[in-house]
Amino acid sequence: MSGNQIVFIVLAAIACIGAAGVVVFGDNPVRSALFLVLNFFVLGFLYFTLGAQLLGISQILVYAGAIMVLFLFVIMMLQQQSAFLRSTESDGRGPIAWLLGATMFMTVGAAVLAPLGGVTGSPILDTFGTPQSIGKVLFTGYAWPFLISSVLLLVGIVGSILLAKRKF
């Protein structure tokens, strides 16, 4: 077993634990959110092992750092009502949801995972996801979508202020 595989297995195991932790502690949303941080953080490292460094850094900076703060704020804003939100009585929809979800998972898994079984190497270059190679493409061929993304962020700024701040 190569070193790469060991690193992958360890990281994947931690990511899976994090993902499981998100849903297992159903009664405490803050704990779920912290497990999600763990999951995002380890995912960032998985991106590094794939050579996608810019993506890895963005994952850690933006998701594990900033977006999770928003998650926690939302939980804090809703905390008092969480007793309302959790319905205690089961109405029989649970098993059906499980059944449908499992069927969907198996169908998609069988269709998509089987063809990927024989894939061993990655056809992409080693420098595929470095900030340099992305920068060289992003500011020439993809300059127009790059500028549109800045307008998208402006929409986010104006929209969030419209929804949260401005009032009479």
């Binding site: 998609v108 269709a111 998509v112 089987a114 063809p115 990927l116 056809p123 270059l125 420098t127 340099q132 190679s133 060289k136 493409v137 020439t140 061929g141 993809y142 300059a143 127009w144 979508p145 549109i148 993304s149 307008v151 998208l152 402006l154 929409v155 986010g156 104006v158 929209g159 969030s160 202020i161 419209l162 929804l163 401005r166 009032k167 009479f168």
Partner: protein
């Protein structure tokens, strides 16, 4: 990796989108520096900007068609017509928005900037063959609309609809993104013809992944264009949003999503045997569910919401006919019907927005009682819009449905044509209910002294009415104008397949 060559910029191709975006930024600057004035300046600047954007589209009809930025911006008939239509819809929405917003006490100037950017997002969606650009356009359009939907912050209904729209819209966007990822995986191409590349590679697992990705992409697009069974958000969101936002959203989001759907379905031609039966049933269900659910609604905006679902079904019939037989059926009737739909919807919602007064707004049928006395001109035009929505000859709605019917027959899709005809007849019942509420009933308990229609609204309604007359009087010419195949230009379906 070496430095890429600097791309040559086709300024005309990006001009309409850029002008609309810059207009939004200028409007934002005006709001920044004059926050204590009314919005008239912003409206004026926005209208001028939209007019300029429209002007920048027109000369492109005679320019050579093709793509620039490596397929990120495409100039073709479909894109140009839809861009022009999106600009017009935004223009009309701005005409009647200001009086409505003041009457409703939500005079946020941010409406104008966000609506302009949403419009630009829609214009990006209909003029690209690159999935990344398509996604960006979808996001600009979507996020701006989520915020606009929740703009009326004193009403719980508005917040609820914003929440629903956001959650389901984000769900749909996630499907689109997963679909793009699965198309990118086997082909390494972000272009919309990744499907053809995957099929041409002759590797069964590549085809399978492309099929899966294409399916996810279609699910996301059906969410966005509110086709059954992904339509559940539509009536709630249409009802809860402020009426001018509903009008804008109903037209812009539908036009952009159907425009994108046309390109995606045309690009999916190599897999047509897989998705055609599904989309066939989606079209039938949209027409049936949309029209029959509208029958039992007690709220005008919900009724129009279901009617928009049904109209999405009609458009899908036209698109399917084009994809089924691209050599016989051009996109002209699709474009004709979308144009008519945009105009009718804007007009109808503009009249419905008259129900708002003094910060309150009721949109149940009885809240419209007596509108006839208050706003005779607008109410009179409502007859025209409703007649057109039903498809009474000689309105644009009639011609649109007739062309689609003929197309469906020409493409050998008899069941779709029959369902279209039958459900159109059913739809007459609930459309006439709106007319009845406005004209037949006397003003009930809800007396209405204030809230006289303003010049902007009358102008908007007049423009829509004139457009309905104009398009239907010159239906043959408009259809000829919209038929790109006639002067040797390839239809979208053929061109995309030929490019692989």
């Amino acid at each position: 990796m070496s430095y890429q060559p600097i791309p040559t910029i086709d300024w005309w191709a990006i001009a309409p989108v850029s002008i609309v975006m810059v207009t939004g930024i200028v409007a934002l600057l005006i709001e920044m520096f004059r926050p204590n004035r009314n919005n008239n300046t912003i409206v004026a600047v926005s209208l001028v900007g939209l007019f300029l954007a429209g002007l920048s589209v027109v000369p492109q009809f005679s320019m050579p068609f093709g793509s620039s930025f490596g397929g990120m911006v495409v100039r073709d008939y479909l894109g140009l017509v839809l861009q022009l239509l999106l600009i017009t819809v935004c223009f009309v929405a701005f005409l009647f928005s200001e009086p409505y917003l003041r009457e409703k006490r939500i005079a946020f100037a941010e409406f104008y900037q966000l609506a302009l950017w949403a419009s630009a997002g829609g214009m990006i969606m209909v003029t690209t063959e690159n999935l990344l650009m398509f996604f960006l356009g979808l996001e600009v359009l979507g996020i701006a609309l989520y915020c606009l939907t929740g703009m009326c912050r004193q009403e719980l209904r508005s917040e609820e609809s914003a929440m629903k729209y956001f959650l389901l819209g984000a769900f749909g966007t996630a499907f689109v993104l997963m679909g793009i990822a699965y198309l990118y995986g086997p082909t390494g191409s972000l272009r919309i013809d990744a499907v053809s590349i995957a099929v041409a590679s002759d590797q069964p697992h590549f085809v399978l992944m492309a099929l899966f990705g294409f399916g996810l992409l279609l699910v996301g697009l059906c969410f966005k264009s509110a086709l059954v069974p992904f339509h559940q958000w539509t009536p709630d969101v249409y009802q809860g949003a402020p009426t001018n936002v509903t009008a804008f959203m109903a037209s812009t989001s539908k036009i952009a999503a159907i425009g994108a759907l046309i390109r995606v379905l045309a690009a999916g031609a190599p897999l047509v045997s897989y998705w055609f039966p599904i989309m066939f049933w989606v079209a039938i269900l949209s027409m049936v569910v949309g029209n029959f659910a509208a029958l039992v609604q007690k709220d005008v905006k919900r009724t129009l919401g279901y009617s928009s679902v049904a109209n999405g079904g009609y458009m899908l019939v036209a698109v399917l006919a084009h994809v089924q037989a691209p050599e016989k059926v051009s996109l002209a009737s699709t474009l004709f019907f979308i144009t008519g739909y945009g105009v009718m919807t804007m007009g109808a919602f503009a009249v419905v927005s008259l129900a708002a007064r003094d910060g309150k707004e009721g949109t149940r049928f009885q809240d419209l009682h007596g509108l006839w006395h208050r706003a005779p001109f607008a109410a009179g035009c409502l007859i025209l819009f409703v007649a057109s929505l039903i498809g009474v000859p000689p309105t644009v709605g009639f011609f649109g449905k007739m062309f689609i019917f003929n197309d469906a027959l020409a493409a050998g899709l008899l069941p779709l044509a029959l369902v279209l005809a039958v459900t159109s007849v059913v739809s007459a019942y609930y459309y006439l209910g709106i007319i009845q509420a406005v004209f037949v009933q006397e003003e009930g308990a809800v007396k209405n002294e204030s809230g006289r229609p303003q010049a902007g609204l009358n102008l908007a309604v007049l423009l829509c009415a004139l457009a309905i007359f104009g398009i239907s009087l010159g239906a043959e010419n408009v259809l000829k104008f919209m038929a790109p195949a006639e002067d040797g230009r390839q239809p979208v379906a053929e061109r995309t397949v030929a490019q692989r």
